[in-house]
């Protein structure tokens, strides 16, 4: 077992990594299995299979049927769930410390899913309902539209949920093959945070997962193409508001200057930000934001907002004005300090809760390959200065043409 700044790590003989953060000041513990596969690791014919499989892992194993899985979770009083993203699938539960072993055993059993054939079609109906519900949401529609356009031809282009067509066509045998290829000790990581003794946690992992087969990690990912310049419109009368979003290339999730990007995004469009005071509080639009989407090999800065369609020109002008100012004059010491202060409180809050620590750990372990302690993250944010943000802006400018995406009832912009 190896130790690094607040964490303990162990690798079982079959290749399963176990990462533990002991939190002696709390009374609960959380655990989760990270499976290093997501929507971008699918082929077009299998679009949506990672997410569908995540659902199927709740549907039966050699030891439990779906009913027993849910009963066992609820008998622990667990706060549990799973999610699938573009780059990962994560299954987790948060329990009283004394129930940690039972929680790990249950999650581990799900990772050996039998993908029961008699549940496959029923669950497919659930996913198709989920897709329909997602299509009724403006923010989900915009998110999917952006990916479809800027990553056209690449695996990041299709929705995590897949489409009615792709999910409708999936077969149980295809899922079995995908499962065998990705759900093994060599492509998964067990992460634990909470009031646990690391030696006990490793013993639990050995006992429960030690007999799992190893395997080769997921195939290497193909880097997406450089973010294009241009514009795209999805005109639809389904929504009352119009969304406009400027997209610019930005640092990836692994890039050392991602903290600069995050602080700048917060200064521009976060809480108490320039967008808030100079756009929202001028009555132009109720929601205006700046944020990043970051993947392991590429990132994107999004600057945009939701507005009434007739206010599009005003919103566009206001966003471009603020972007112009930050590009020309950078940010101030005071602005950077404000973000740092908020982050310090957020990190202290996170340190009280094994659930929230687990969610941050999975992000760090998946993207950076290792967990980061609260103090390391404070140090990283402390290193950000107006100068480092200026250097970031020179590397990743936001003042150029970028890619403009528009969704809503107006035929705008003219393409």
């Amino acid at each position: 077992m190896s130790k690094t700044a607040g964490f303990e790590e162990h690798r079982l003989e079959n290749g399963l990594r176990v990462v533990i953060e002991p939190m002696p000041h709390v009374r609960s513990a959380s655990a989760g299995f990270l499976v290093k596969t997501g929507a971008r690791d699918e082929t077009p014919a299998l679009a949506g299979i990672s997410h569908f499989l995540e659902h199927m892992c709740f549907k039966g194993t050699q030891k439990r049927d779906w009913r027993q899985i849910t009963i066992d979770f609820d008998n622990l009083g667990s706060t549990y769930n799973a999610y699938t993203s573009k780059e990962r699938t994560f299954y987790f539960g948060w329990v009283r410390t004394e129930d940690l072993e039972k929680q790990v055993e249950l999650l581990a059993d799900m990772m050996r899913s039998s993908i029961p054939a008699d549940e496959f079609d029923t669950e497919k109906k659930v996913i198709l309902e989920e897709i329909a519900g997602s299509n009724d949401q403006l923010d989900r529609t915009v998110y999917d539209f952006i990916h479809e356009k800027v990553y056209s031809g690449h695996a990041l282009a299709w929705p995590v949920l897949g489409t009615q067509e792709s999910v409708g066509a999936l077969k149980q045998e295809q899922m079995r093959g995908y499962f065998d290829e990705r759900y093994h000790a060599g492509n998964m990581i067990l992460i634990i945070a909470g009031a646990v003794d690391p030696a006990d946690a490793v013993a639990i992992a050995e006992r429960i997962c030690g007999s799992w087969k190893g395997g080769r990690p997921r195939p290497d990912r193909i880097a997406p193409p450089k973010l294009p310049e241009g514009a795209a419109l999805r005109q639809t009368d389904r929504f009352q508001q119009q969304v406009l979003a400027y997209l610019h290339p930005s640092s990836s999730g692994k890039d050392p200057d991602r903290e600069d990007a995050n602080v700048m995004a917060s200064i521009l469009g976060g809480h108490n930000s320039r967008f808030f005071w100079n756009i929202v509080q001028k009555g132009v639009a109720p929601y205006v934001w700046s944020g990043r989407l970051d993947y392991c090999d590429q990132g994107m800065m999004l600057l945009g907002g939701f507005c009434e369609p007739e206010k599009l020109e005003s919103l566009q002008e206001a966003i471009l004005r603020e972007v112009g100012k930050v590009s020309e004059s950078g940010v101030t010491d005071e602005e950077v300090s404000r973000v740092k202060n908020r982050v310090r409180t957020a990190l202290a809050t996170e340190a009280e809760s094994p659930y929230h620590r687990l969610m941050q750990m999975v992000q760090d372990v998946d993207v950076l390959g290792r967990p980061r302690s609260v103090s390391e993250r404070i140090a990283a944010i402390d290193a950000v200065t107006p100068s480092s943000i200026q250097a970031h802006l020179e590397r990743w400018p936001v003042g150029g043409k970028g890619y403009l995406a528009s969704v809503g009832p107006r035929e705008w912009p003219e393409l």
Partner: protein
């Protein structure tokens, strides 16, 4: 658990009711200020004004601009939120322990000396109208709005943003007048927890809120709940039909509240619960299905909801009704035990977060007028029997339901 729960509770001479739960070993402090006034106190021709007060109260004070005030909060890293609820404005703040005094002082400043700048008030009104447009793009929130309107009636069923017509009638002076007539020490419930020095906090409250407000009323009266059963459909171009059902439950102070808590857990507490199992897992009719309850002071309302595509929506509706009714027929000891374990375990796990504990304390002050030890609440839950559940269901008939659908077509099923 008992070692942690050393509550402090007092009514200060200034009129503020204060409760605290210091918890050793935490990293943060959280406090919550509830002002006992909200949407239910709005003049009927000025709906939406409570939200406008919440949106503009931190946009400037007697000595600082809105931006300077927000910068001052950021200087100490305070994480805060505020909103106007049905019966209370809620101000929440979490910060590092060394900044509690400053965070409280800034709240005092915005609560006692808001400037309500004319421009900020005008923007708040304009943004509220835009929020009404945005609401149209959020089917879940629209469903809740319609359910509240028919389930609670005219006063308790008001929506945050009011109406375009009512917003047109509101002026900056109206916003300021609402604050003057409803904000004051006598209407304040303050709860604090985590790493907090109770004596210093209490002294600061007394010193800073003495003489605040005109002392008109204490905001502790209840408002009329006007339940209106029936079926209503709101047509909207959507891929799914959004279904909501509600019926009166019991207030938190009712002896059967614990029974309702257990019943709700059986119905919708986890993935093994009845709604998830029967509507989603067995039939694949929905992705979202759930049940929940809400509690205005002195009242209660039970809700069930789901969304599904038009070919499935009638079956989904029938399944929702069937599962609620079936509880009285065949609820099992095993389900009861599972529900209780879930309630107990989540209290413990979620209680690791200071903000969660303070939120619970604030709600207890609001509903019970005192801090309620978690063990006391848990003991009541653990004592609930199957007979209690059956009796509760018999005494709370569901033959008159309020049903709302939002989507491409009304339900074909005519029952009930």
């Amino acid at each position: 658990m008992s070692e942690e729960e050393r509550f402090h509770h007092e009514r200060l001479p200034c009129g503020v009711e204060f409760a605290a739960l210091p918890i050793a070993g935490r990293r943060t402090a959280t406090f919550e200020i509830r002002i006992l006034a909200g949407m239910a106190n709005e003049p009927s021709d000025k709906l939406g004004i409570a939200n406008l007060v919440a949106e503009s109260i931190d946009k400037g004070t007697a000595k600082r601009s809105g931006q300077a005030l927000n910068d001052a909060f950021d200087a100490i890293g305070a994480q805060r939120s505020l909103f106007a609820g049905r019966e209370a404005f809620v101000f929440r703040c979490t910060c590092l322990p060394e900044f509690v005094g400053q965070a409280l002082a800034l709240h005092v400043e915005l609560l006692r000396t808001p400037a309500f700048p004319e421009e900020s008030c005008a923007v708040a009104i304009d943004l509220a109208k835009q929020e009404l447009t945005a609401l149209d793009d959020e089917p879940d929130e629209m469903l809740r709005k319609f359910l509240a309107r028919h389930g609670y009636g005219e006063v308790l069923g008001r929506h945050t943003f009011g109406t375009r017509e009512s917003l047109d009638r509101i002026t900056g002076e109206d916003i300021s007048a609402y604050w003057r007539s409803h904000f004051g020490a006598a209407r304040m419930l303050v709860s604090a927890g985590g790493v907090v020095d109770v004596d210093r906090f209490s002294e600061a409250l007394e010193a800073r809120f003495e003489g605040f407000g005109n002392g008109t009323g204490d905001g502790r009266a209840t408002f009329p709940l006007e339940f209106s059963p029936g079926r209503r459909h709101y047509d909207k171009k959507l891929e799914q039909e959004y279904i909501g059902i509600c019926w009166p439950g019991v207030p938190k102070t009712h002896p059967d509240y614990s029974v309702e808590v257990v019943l709700l857990a059986v119905l919708s507490g986890g993935m093994s619960s009845r709604l998830f199992t029967e509507v989603r897992e067995k039939q694949g009719l929905v992705y979202w299905v759930g049940a929940w309850n809400e509690h205005p002071r002195g009242a209660g309302m039970m809700f069930a909801g789901a969304s599904s595509t038009p070919p499935n929506c009638d079956k989904t509706y029938r399944s929702l009704l069937r599962e609620v009714d079936r509880l009285a027929e065949d609820i099992s000891e095993e389900e009861m035990a599972r529900a209780k374990v879930g309630i107990a375990a989540k209290r413990e796990t979620h209680g690791d977060a200071t903000s969660s504990r303070v939120g619970e304390l604030g709600a207890d002050l609001f509903h019970y007028g005192r801090p309620v030890p978690r063990q006391e609440k848990l003991d009541k839950v653990m004592a609930v029997t199957i007979d209690d559940v059956r009796r509760y269901l018999g005494e709370q008939p569901r033959d008159r339901l309020c049903v709302v659908t939002l989507g491409p077509r009304p339900l074909e099923d005519q029952a009930p």
